[in-house]
Symmetry: D2
Subunit: 274 residues, 4 copies
């Protein structure tokens, strides 16, 4: 089994070494990860510049570092290593729960794997944990036994609590955002605003947040499609717009010219921004 | 009706002015947007530093610029202006279709609105279009009449083709990723790799990509919850793990201490990264 | 006379338009500037990726935007337009005085011009000024008459006070740094530290800072060479090290191989960093 | 002797550990460095947000990581540790020679030390070298013996060749920039431009570049003042402008109000940019 390991903390993060070490028990491992920490940068594929792909050394593992995003690493990794079976992303230093996983680079790498038709598994540990990942290794092993073995889900998000009691399936916690804005003064007397994220004290039972709060490892199957199918159907029924006309007069397959034109019209950072 | 307008191209982008102008016909408009272009930076709430919120002038509109992400702008905007009815994000220069909307700052602002319990509408125009948005204004008007009027969906993603023929509801296009890696040499002879996104020539009829290719404005209701409910149920049935035990022994509501501890263990960029 | 105009605030900053407009009275003007604000990014030549150079429109001027640094813009501008006579950088929104000009992108563009053998002139206005540059135009005109006319200095840094009384030559203010660290608490109770720059109340008469405080426009000729010649000579005299040996045994001109090897060993951001 | 060690490659770079280890032989060492690599970001003091200062562990050394620039680290380090005797910056992975040291974060940290009235020493190793710094340690030791001992220069830039033969004083190499623009096509057929830095084959004997090419360690005393004194005097003599008037009518010391106003008008990234 060929297992590609990436992350968003950068290739020299202790978390990726810990994950790759356990993954090595399940197959051949190759590490392809960003050369620096990319948590706070864009998660899209980098289309405005070419990327480097350079061999490096991570505890005796075959490893490559890329000057791009986690998703870039997965694309380049799959390009250079055919027949990858699964992509692991992590072990992230910091949980990725509920709403917040929308902007997680760790999850973005796993999503990119799923888009490429590969299995993607994102794994995150508590940020408060010491960068000693030894206690997590037996649990990582058990998660991989499950997700690389019988359970062949295309995209799963896994979070480890500080002291795991066991594993459970969990849905993402999507409670409303409980942030709080706190005005402060800077030393020059200007008012600034902290955007603090307050603890969400009533996470629903069965969600990833609740699971981790109760010291269960959460496993959440994710979907790539962000459409709200129920609302879409309701909206179509109640306000039909030009849907019927569009389906009637437009061919089922667009012309190559139309496909190319729309492709050009999608956002591509600095290359196409006016 | 109070309408907050934001974007990810930055407050001085011509797109936001065009959108705000049309929105003014529907209520009181306030613009709160990033001080510089934020397409390629993080989309999360900024929790590691306080944010500035400064009055500026955009074509006679009440406007504030924030040194943060699009999601920060929505949070700060809603903090400073109570009883906001809807948040518009755009008009983005560049379409946000299918898979790619996961890393769109334009969509992130609309999502943040939905998380705050407000309606969020993301609007994107072709990047190839001239920064003359006049031809789009009648269509923006029609979209707002619909989405600020009868149809009160919490989160909708709207894309405008170059020459719209009408409006249609569409699901997101989630075809597999059709990227292609192209190796090139830099002037020093080192091999680098372009990650090019090739045109997807067989977008499914009824998707946002297909709609825009056929010159229909696409309206896609989005869900905040990324869970794959069907797979979650299947997985629970086939591999029960410790789910039953967890639900039996863990209280339905976590303690405040557990909530706070997990909150601290979530990733927070540079403040908590080891 | 061919005049290349760049800046670090980005090509759509009102300051560059004002400067280009006045410069047009002195010759043919071409604007080549970063596509987004680059004040806080690297000032070196970008060697890790290729750059785009795209025509755009700035108030009827010939203009190109580059996805790179101010120094990149000068290099690319000079590449595309042979026989440039002078490079103007600005009008920056924010003064660049004394010590701080070492990390100014505005000054970096002018320095790059000087390195290319072109005249480089950096011009900065008060950041507190309204983005109405009309009152500065007569003064910009007078500065350009002087520096594009008789006075042909290779590299000059110019700062405009809010209400100029006249022009004076000034040396850079290099008083010790009078910053002050102020500890603050974030909303979670963690201590953070503001690095505030306190007003320097005793700028020496004759320096750029003093000049601007007294409402004189300061013109400061800069040197490219950062060597402290006097200290170098003193050190050589007092502690000769291997200087004599090195000069005796090493050839006056290095081999091409040695030049190339050292070139490779210089820092080049992500491409060569381990 | 109290020795503060910083860098721009980030606190977990192997270079800073190697430098700190040798420095420990000369006094008490404290490491204060950026939490991530900062080579390509701004070098100024960060004035727009507060900074964190967090204890971390680097091979048993007292160490703190800062979410800011190298110059910020020096300021915060000196704030928290009174009576620092010297600041070492490095060991940078990548040489910092001649013109390029103007945008070096490694040199910026040493400059900040000098601005604070402390000695600053920047040390850089070849980027092509293996991240095994053992062979450099005896040479680092000899450099520190010299520069922390008898020779008490305020600001020195040191570069190590791959196989040092000895030490020499050298002036900075300020040959004109020998870059070359190379047009390339991206996979979509668009023309882009590589800015390549060609080897400078005729570095002057006695300069830092020449020294390193000949395998001598170069030590270059730097000045903080960028003024070209000779040109300033010549310009004053030939075109007196309003210098005499300014010196006659303006007080030798500015008012506190004027100092504060000019301070506010200096550039401060996102906080004051319009």
């Amino acid at each position: 089994m060929r297992i590609l390991v990436s992350n968003d903390d950068g290739i020299y993060s202790p978390g990726i070494a810990a994950l790759a070490e356990v993954a090595s028990e399940f197959g051949t491992v190759r590490v392809v990860a960003p050369d620096v920490e990319r948590s706070s940068t864009g998660h899209a594929i980098t289309a405005s510049r070419p990327l480097s792909y350079r061999a490096t050394n991570i505890k005796g593992l075959t490893a490559y570092r890329v000057n791009g995003t986690p998703a870039d690493c997965v694309s380049l990794g799959a390009y250079h290593w055919e027949k990858v079976d699964a992509v692991l992303s992590g072990l992230n230093i910091g949980l990725n729960l509920g709403n917040s996983l929308g902007h997680s680079g760790t999850v973005a790498a796993a999503k990119q794997a799923a888009l490429l038709g590969l299995r993607g598994i994102a794994l995150s540990a508590p940020s408060g944990a010491e960068p000693d990942f030894e206690p997590f290794k037996p649990w990582i092993r058990r998660v991989l036994q499950l997700l690389l073995g019988d359970v062949r889900l295309p995209l799963v998000n896994v979070n480890f609590p500080r002291d795991p009691r066991g594993l459970m399936w969990a849905r993402a916690s999507v409670r409303r955002y409980d942030g709080r804005i706190v005005p402060v003064k800077d030393p020059a007397g200007r008012t600034l605003f902290w955007s603090t994220v307050v603890p969400i004290e009533d996470a629903d039972a069965g969600t990833d947040r609740w699971a981790v709060e109760q010291n269960w490892i959460s496993l959440t199957p994710l979907r790539l499609d962000p459409t709200d199918d129920a609302q879409l159907q309701d909206a179509r029924d109640a306000w039909p717009l030009d849907d019927a006309l569009a389906m009637a007069v437009s061919p089922g397959t667009s012309s190559p010219e139309a496909a190319r034109s729309v492709r050009d019209d999608e956002s591509e950072a600095s290359l196409t921004k006016a």
